[in-house]
């Protein structure tokens, strides 16, 4: 199947967007939780209460959700083209939900591409 460089570029872009949005939202969440617990509240109440969370924070998670959906499409497309195994594909796809892991997955995929001596569209 052709179109590997294009698919790799699409995957790389989505991995970075998803990764940056997720890292921002995750860091923000950690900060909010620290402030929440410094105020003497229980950790479990943080997730059941929406009052102390800024609107932009919630929006960021929604943005991550849809960026991740595009990441899935780009990731599945690339995995099909590279004929990756199911396990490898699922791990790459799940990396978009773990903070900072999509960067790792993206590095892995592009190293793999370089090893196969297939031209990656971005150096």
């Amino acid at each position: 199947m052709n179109g590997i460089p294009g698919a790799a570029l699409r995957y790389r872009i989505m991995a970075w967007i998803t990764g940056v949005v997720l890292a921002t939202a995750f860091t923000w969440m950690v900060l909010l939780i620290v402030m929440w617990m410094v105020d003497g509240n229980a950790l479990t109440d943080f997730f059941s209460s929406n009052e102390q969370k800024p609107t932009a924070y919630g929006v960021l998670w929604i943005v991550h959700g849809w960026a991740y959906f595009l990441y899935l499409i780009a990731g599945v497309d690339l995995a099909f083209r590279l004929r990756y195994s199911i396990v490898r594909t699922v791990l790459i796809l799940l990396a978009g939900t773990v903070p900072f892991m999509s960067f790792v997955a993206e590095r892995y995929v592009h190293k793999d591409l370089a090893r196969r001596a297939l031209p990656s569209s971005v150096s």
Partner: protein, 265 residues
């Protein structure tokens, strides 16, 4: 392996035959499990959306003290109208007003509006309920301190200048009540009173309004998204089936023509 542009287009019958192989039946089963799981997760987020809304509405329906809500000289705002409120004070029966021509369950009667004097000396109108007429038992409010809860309403603005006899009014407003500069605007529709007294006017139930709670967009979008993911599983399965069928076709085309088509039956 040569990098030729693949031109093999599997026929629908190829796809069907491939879909019934053990390998693709297993994949279809896994896809179905994923779809069910995603549908359930979406339903769970949808439930969370409803729960958060209910909790926010319940918090808003919890009565707040009237003290800072409608200070003297300020009109009821759109944020405070319909709000569940509580107040502590004593009824001033000498300034009680009867609102005429008010129906309840098909019978015409009156509403009883009594000023409640709060600790700071201000007066707030309490619509204590409905009576068939001004001679019915229950007209007199209890003496002494009571704590009440109800729903805050804005002044009524209709029937201005309607002719009435003293002590009777056509609509509840600061002008018609005429209680002087200590009166707060609006009125409380009584829901409960402690201590309760009998006989008393029939309560006119009004539900607290909760239209302005924050909608939990995050849960709502997550619910929607899980269902989109479920559809995505279908797309991945079909793409997989198509690509594998294409691969089989390419392999059979690159092979020298076999004497007979291998049967999969």
């Amino acid at each position: 392996m040569t990098h030729q542009v693949s031109m093999a287009r599997p026929a629908p019958s190829d796809l069907g035959r491939l879909a019934l192989t053990p390998r693709f039946l297993l994949r279809a089963g896994l896809a179905l499990l994923l779809i069910l799981a995603f549908a359930f997760l979406g339903y769970w987020q949808w439930e969370r959306t409803q729960d958060v809304l209910a909790a926010e509405r319940a918090a808003l329906a919890e009565p707040v003290a009237i003290d800072g809500l409608n200070p003297i000289g300020q009109a009821i705002t759109s944020e405070t109208v319909g709000r569940a409120v509580s107040a502590v004070g004593s009824y001033q029966s000498q300034d009680q007003r009867l609102v005429v021509h008010r129906g309840l369950n098909g019978s015409t009667g009156i509403w009883v509006v009594t000023p409640l004097e709060l600790a700071d000396g201000s007066l707030v109108a309490v619509m204590r309920g409905w009576l068939p007429n001004g001679d019915a038992p229950g007209l007199q409010p209890p003496a002494g301190q009571v704590s009440i809860s109800g729903v805050l309403q804005a002044d009524e603005s209709f029937y201005k200048g309607a002719p009435t006899t003293p002590g009777e009014i056509a609509a509840i407003s600061q002008q018609s009540l005429n209680w002087g500069p200590q009166a707060r605007s609006g009125f409380i529709v009584l829901a409960s009173q402690d201590p309760a007294t009998q006989p008393a006017p029939t309560p006119v139930p009004i539900a607290p309004q909760a239209t302005d709670v924050a909608f939990p967009f995050q849960n709502f979008f997550y619910a929607f998204q899980w269902w989109v993911f479920a559809l995505f599983v279908v797309a991945v399965y079909l793409r997989w089936l198509w690509l594998d069928a294409q691969l089989l076709k390419e392999e059979s085309m690159s092979r020298p023509p076999a004497p007979a088509e291998p049967s999969l039956d």
